[in-house]
Every structure is written in C-alpha cells, then in structure tokens.
Amino acid sequence: MNPKKADKIATSILYGIAGFVVLVLAALLGYILVRGLPHVSWQFLTTPAKSFSSGGGVGIQLFNSFYLLLLTLLISFPISLGAGIWLSEYAKNNWVTTVIRTSVEILSSLPSVVVGLFGFLIFVVQFNFGFSILSGALALTFFNLPLLTRSIEESLRAIPYSQREAGFSLGLSRWETVTRVVVPDAVPGILTGVILSAGRIFGEAAALIYTAGQSAPALDFTNWNPANIASPLNPMRPAETLAVHIWKINSEGIMPDASAVSAGASAVLIIAVLLFNFLARFGGKALYRKITSSK
C-alpha cells in the first residue's frame, strides 16, 4: 500500500470514530430532551414534588441542587485554589510533593458511591450532622477537591515561567507575583475548571444519597433565616437534589406519572449541565479578553 492511500484510509477511520462519538452523544441528548422537554413547564420547575399523586414538580429539588452546588464550591474552591497555587508555584520537587500529588490522584479516582458512604460514616453519623445539605456539601467537596485542584494547578502551570521572571525581576515577591500576575492570567482557565466541576457536582447522585438524604421537605421561600428548619437556606435540613430525585423515582417512585417526572427532571438536569459547559467555554474566553484588555 502506498503512503498516500494509507493516509487516506487512516484519516477516514479516524473521522468515522469521531463521528460515531458525536452520534452517540447526539442520540443520547436527543432522546432525553425529546422525551423530557414536553413535561417541562414553569409550573414543573417551581412546584414541589408529589409522592402519591400526579402533577408534581421538581422546584425544591432544583433549588437544592443549586444551593448544594453553591455550598460545595464555597468550601472546595478556596481549598483547591490554595492547593493548586502551592503545587504549581511553591512545591519543591521532593518526596513530600510526590506523596501529596499521588494522594490527590488516588482521591480523584475514588468511586463517588464510596465517597458517599465515607461521608455518611463521618459527617452524618460521627459528626452527627444528619442527612443534611452540610453533609452533602462536605462529601461533594471530597469528590470535587482533587479534580478542581488539578485543573487549577494546570491553569497556573500554563502561564509561561517568563511571566514570573518578569515579576521577580521588578522586585516583586513570589506571593505578589503569583497573586497579581499569574493568577489573574490564569483566571479564564480556573473559571473553566470551576464551571466544569460545577457540572459534575450538579449531576452527582451516588455521593449524595447517603449524605444529603433522599427527602425534600417542604420549604417556605419567604423565610430566609438560615436557622429555621423550613428556610431554604438552612444547611442542616435534608435535601434531595435533582439527580437523586431521578434515581429515586426510577427505583421506587409510586406516583402515577413517575416516568414523565423522571423524563422531565432528566431534561432539566441535562440542560443545566450543558449550560455550565457553554458558560465555561464562552465565559472563559470573554473574561480573558477583558483581563488582557485585548479587543
């Protein structure tokens, strides 16, 4: 076979594989959206779920998902940023760093159901937080930390060393150089990492079943006192999220329109995750243009 022909064949095979991946994705998304979207309405998005009768919505679950996401990011982002900065800017190349890096890698490959059971034993039982948003957020933090740390570290490493040299040569300390030069340059990358991890947190179910619980008590959206049990902001209340809700309906849902609610909820979940991804893509670019004041 001549090289030209071989190249042609290889190219078409690669195109075929790529096309197949896109096709699978499109089919999955299409199926979920076509099945689910007809059930999605403003009423579906805002009313509480019903256990035994039809016509329930996913309002509380949707709110819980966002609230849990926010809390998880509030806890995990500062830790990941610190760890990422340390790994990329300060860590010396020695065995301590290697141990930490390996630990982060192992942590990132833990199955989420194991993280969930760990969260159950530690936060729910041992610390007596009960099935609560707090327990769920802490479990998700464990789930999220390694990947977010890794993506922040990589965003920082992508900034050329010459930028740091520029800072040092002007008499700036390492800390000033990192916080004022390197981190701002890496913001688009960091933002992309945060948003992508937000998508993963948003869709996570296994880690939450045993930590944030499987019930969504009625919330009083006029009560914003976090200490009150009916308040949406209370971090100690059990909170079923959208992903857990889907899992639960499909395993033990007894409402007459279970499959319709499940389909609708799945569509909402997918759209939210897709929005996160698009936001990551365009938000990162727009922010970079703004920061570097390029037009």
């Binding site: 050329p160 010459s162 930028q163 040299e165 520029a166 800072g167 040092f168 040569s169 002007l170 008499g171 700036l172 300390s173 000033e176 004022r180 030069v181 340059d185 920061i291 570097t292 004041s293 390029s294 037009k295």
Partner: protein, 267 residues
C-alpha cells in the same frame, strides 16, 4: 570526565581610583546539582558603560548574568561574592526584592504582562508604593521615551501590551525595567528574538541608556557586541577566559580561544 582545558585566562581589573565600579563578582561559582556551570568567575563592571558577555551556547554567560540579581535562587547554587555598593548581595540575609529594584533585568523573549501598556510600566511601581497618579504618568512617559517606544504608543496607552509587535514588546520590557530607575540593567540576549530592524532599534536605545545606567548584556551576536559595548568578557565552558576593552577583545585578543571565537573559527 570533562577536562578543564582552560589553561590561561586574562581578566582585566580596573584601577578603582579612575574607574567607578558598579558591580563586581569575586570567585563566583554556580552549580546545577553536581554540575558546575560557572567556575570561579571574578569580573568588574564599570559604571555607565556597556559590558558584553559573549561565548558559545552553554558557555555559562546567561547563567552568570542571571546570578547577578539572584534570578537563579532556587534553581542553582550560587557561591562567591557579588559586590554592589560595598555589599555582598549574594548573602542570605539580603533583601532580594529590594536589591532587584536596583538591578533590573530584561529577558531573551519579550515577556510583557498581559495588561495594558500603561499598567505594564506602573504595575510594579504601584506595588512598591508609588501612588501619585501624576508621578506615575511622568514615569511612564519618561521610560517609554528612553526605550524609544513613546512616539508609537502615546496615543493609546490602554491597549494590551500583547497587541504590540515583538520588537515593541521588548522595548516595553526595557521601559518597564528602567521605570524602576535601577542602577544596573542586565540584558539577556534582548535582541535575539527580534528581526534585524527591531534589533537595531533596541541597540540604539541601549546606547542612549548607558548615560544613565550601567548595562551588562549577554549576546550571541558579535557584531552587536562590537557595536555597542565598551568592555567584553568572553566565556567558555563556565570560565571567564578573557576580559578587556571591546576593541582589544575583537582586534588583538591575547588568548587563542578568544581569537578563535571572535574570528569565527571556533571548535
């Protein structure tokens, strides 16, 4: 093992009554791990003059230059003395951040911050406590003029520095360094990533700068060294082989190795 084949070296020293020494190294050694990159180099740099460091790739000239303002801290072990204003700045207790305000540096590849032109120059000044807006603006204009960039950028200082051409970026980096009003400017092959025209413009601005600054420049380009420098040090495999007036180094060097290098039949 690599044999030290430098049998002879000839290092000129200054009569300190007649020449003011801005910077001096004594017995400077640099190690990367167990690998010795600079071996026992003692050189003096006269104030308000341009000293060129020449030599083949891997001769250690850049390593030596980067050691002078401690940019090799944490990368290599630097032992020996670096004397600046009667102070050994290679000691651990020296405030390297303060020292670097006095000994500025420009790198091989232009590395402007991804900020506006104005901010590139004022950023470090602000961090060092200069708040007065008028003072900052004066400093921006002055340093850009000294780096021969002012006329091209004065209309819009708020555009991104990354939108400038390579040569303009490098002159911005020079302006950024001299905006700190250092005593000494270290330049690590500042024109090697530039086209000949940009390179020539950078050279011309260096010649003007030497009225106010002591300049030490590493260069691969021997025409450049002979055009702009007053003194030249020739480096070979980690040693300073010969140091003298540039005219002497280029026309009648004493050491054969230097002669071979400057006449282009090296190796």
């Amino acid at each position: 093992m690599a044999e030290n084949n430098i049998e002879k070296s000839r290092i000129m020293t200054f009569n300190e009554d007649k020449h003011e020494i801005a910077l001096e190294t004594k017995d400077l050694h640099v190690h990367y791990g167990s690998n010795e990159a600079i071996r026992d180099v003692s050189l003096q740099f006269e104030r308000f003059k341009i000293t060129a460091l020449i030599g083949a790739s891997g001769s250690g000239k850049s390593t030596y230059l980067r050691s002078l303002n401690r940019m090799n801290d944490g990368i290599a072990d630097v032992t020996g003395k670096i004397i600046y204003r009667d102070l050994d700045i290679n000691k651990d207790d020296v405030d390297i951040y303060e020292m670097r305000k006095h000994i500025g540096m420009v790198f091989q590849r232009p590395n402007p911050f991804s900020k506006s032109i104005y901010e590139n120059i004022t950023f470090a000044l602000k961090r060092h406590g200069m708040k007065d807006k008028q003072l900052l603006e004066e400093r921006v204009e002055k340093s850009l003029k000294q780096a021969a960039l002012w006329d091209q950028v004065k209309d819009d200082l708020n555009v991104s520095a990354l939108s400038l051409s390579g040569g303009q970026q490098q002159r911005l980096c020079i302006a950024r360094a001299i905006a700190m009003e250092p005593d000494i400017l270290l330049l690590d092959e500042p024109a090697s990533a530039l086209d000949p025209i940009s390179s020539r413009i950078v050279e011309e601005s260096l010649l003007e700068l030497k009225e106010k600054y002591t300049i030490i420049i590493v260069t691969h380009n021997m025409q450049q060294a002979s055009r702009i420098s007053d003194y030249t040090a020739f480096f070979h495999s980690g040693n300073a082989v010969e140091f003298d007036k540039t005219t002497t180094i280029f026309t009648r060097p004493t050491i054969k190795l230097t002669d071979d290098y400057v006449s282009g039949n090296f190796g």
